[in-house]
């Protein structure tokens, strides 16, 4: 399966002129089974997020509607009012490659990450003062 086309799916609408070739490509992608989403290098199923996507073409314009399965959304909210992705997105606005990589090279991390169940301690704790780089480096 190929990666989805570039472009802001959410902002496409009848008020925007259709970019050449974009709408057909977009339609093919969106109408493929289970509406795959491209996130962080892998496909996620839109249905897992309680999301439905409908796409139609008329008069040379792509009309895209994004909906949310009401029940899935209600169940997620019932499980917890905390939205798992929101804080992560806030934290990842400034990403600089290489910073913090020393932690990944530590034996403790490698063992915790890759060791077999039962042969390694399942708990890895990071202690550090404010500003040391646990959540932010500042």
């Amino acid at each position: 399966m190929s990666a989805p086309p570039t472009g802001d799916v959410g902002s496409s609408g009848s008020d925007n002129p259709r970019p050449d070739g974009m709408s057909n490509t977009l339609t093919t992608w969106i109408q493929s089974p289970n509406y795959p989403l491209w996130r962080n290098g892998s496909f996620w199923n839109a249905a897992d997020f309680g999301i439905s996507i409908c796409c139609s073409l008329s008069a040379g314009y792509a009309n895209i509607k994004v909906g949310i399965y009401e029940e899935s959304s209600r169940i997620q909210a019932w499980l917890s009012p905390l939205s798992p992705g929101r804080r992560y997105q806030e934290l990842c606005w400034s990403r600089f490659g290489g910073i913090g990589d020393w932690v990944l090279q530590k034996n403790e991390f490698q063992t915790w990450c890759k060791g077999e169940d039962g042969s390694v301690d399942p708990i890895l704790l990071c202690y550090g003062d404010r500003g040391a780089g646990k959540t932010y480096l500042r």
Binding site: L79, I99, L124, L125, T135, R138
Partner: protein, 201 residues
């Protein structure tokens, strides 16, 4: 203030990218002091559960059943004990679950204590679970108290190389935004002074 995302997000992304096993989930919660009152243990475990739910449609049917039963009882949320039981049941169907909770120290003491007890129970009941926690060191005795073994420990100090890299990147970025005043000599001076004054050192 200069900020860059830290080790928690790095670990999360590394697990996602390099996870050695298929059929693995990476579940993360970043504690936020700005919404401290909402961050009860049951809400945090529920937030982790929401991420399992995304990945495992089979679990959705069991959750839907419990949810529908709950609706008959005026839609009350799950109690922590029931939440843990369902959560353990959910992750037991996968090969490994990485659970990452950042900044545990910012939780209210009673919530923190309850969360640590809940995580301890999850680790005990789900041998395929791995737990990664970050915190300031002043609550280390609480961790020792709640976990039978403290686990492996990494002490995080502001790495001079990281700070130097970060400052250098910011200076270069600023030069593109506002070309002019940052001369190479000034850059050298900043690079000498700022890393040593970072809050984490």
């Amino acid at each position: 203030m200069l900020t860059s995302n830290g080790i928690s997000a790095l670990v999360r992304d590394t697990l996602c990218r390099q996870s050695p096993l298929k059929n693995t989930v990476i579940l993360c919660h970043y504690c936020d002091y700005q919404v401290q009152k909402e961050q009860s243990a049951v809400n945090i475990i529920g937030s982790l559960f929401r991420q399992v739910n995304w990945k495992l449609p089979v679990i959705q049917s069991e959750i839907r059943r419990v949810f529908n039963e709950s609706k008959k009882r005026s839609g009350k949320s799950l109690q922590l004990t029931d939440m843990i039981q369902l959560f353990v049941q959910a992750i037991s169907s996968i090969r490994r679950a990485y659970i990452c909770v950042d900044a545990v120290d910012v939780l209210l003491p009673e919530d923190r204590s309850e969360l640590l007890r809940a995580l301890q129970r999850i680790i005990q009941e789900a041998p395929n679970a791995r737990l990664f926690l970050t915190t300031r060191p002043h609550i280390r005795p609480e961790f020792v108290k709640h976990f039978a073994k403290e686990g492996c420990v990494i002490d995080v100090v502001a790495d001079q190389g990281d700070i130097a890299s970060y400052v250098s990147i910011k200076i270069e970025y600023s030069k593109h935004q506002c070309p002019g005043p940052v001369t190479e000599n000034l850059k050298d001076d900043i690079m000498k002074i700022v890393p040593g004054q970072a809050l984490g050192t």
